[in-house]
Point group: C2
Chain length 139, copies 2
Amino acid sequence: MKNPQKKCLAAGMKRTPQRLAVLAYLDGNTSHPSAEDVYRALSKRNPTLSFATVYNTLNALTETGTIGELTIDPERRRFDPNTMPHHHLICIQCKKIVDIMKDITVELPADSAKGFSISGSHVEFYGYCSRCGSKRRPQ
Amino acid sequence: MKNPQKKCLAAGMKRTPQRLAVLAYLDGNTSHPSAEDVYRALSKRNPTLSFATVYNTLNALTETGTIGELTIDPERRRFDPNTMPHHHLICIQCKKIVDIMKDITVELPADSAKGFSISGSHVEFYGYCSRCGSKRRPQ
DNA sequence: CTGGCTGCAAATCTTTTGCATCCTG
DNA sequence: CAGGATGCAAAAGATTTGCAGCCAG
């Protein structure tokens, strides 16, 4: 289940060149690209690739759970090939998003669950990345 | 600093009827409304209120930190008058978003911080709310 | 072959902006 | 009374959709 070919099959989708290109681009990619990022990166080598197909592919892969969708950026949707539950570090200044693969256990007291049956959690840490932090002047 | 009038002043903004209406609607509102939600709710009683003004007002209030902006919904921006740091419960099915005011301490091991200087964190808990959970059939 | 997939362009939806007028401070 | 705020409509982005032709299974 590591390579794009198998991921396509697993999702019950036809293995078209466009989809394989999208999957190859996403494979191991930790940049949390938007649909446009994917399109721009691929259209150089695949001149006939269309925006609609990128969106269709990303949506199909998201629906089958083959890739994940991030809700971190209010401007646009971002996609994440890493479907393992994980968390994120977000730079307040440059908006860079970095994965945290470490398992973080978050306890929610039963009296705060408001009747929800909780199946997972996602933590976003906000701060300055090393680059932006060092550029800030001491206040 | 509890009422809309004072919030407007605090933000250095003129107290126009439109802004006071937006602030009054948001005051104590825990429904995390989108700009359209705000517009629809207010346009009934304020027929001349325009979409642009709602957006301008929400943006201005967000920039001054008078209200907060949620990044939970990939479809649209949502706003939250509650500026205290807090967390959220999200129903996977009906998408309802519920506040958790309880302070949750999340530890991030130093070796996972990737050079970030962390200033805050936000936890999203996913699951089924009481209504959706009871409607699910046992698999 | 056949149904799913693609590319294109147009449509839709959310959010922003230009501008003349209005009104708060 | 001046500058910020409003309303309108148009623009700008992001995403979706209709449709005719194409190609993977």
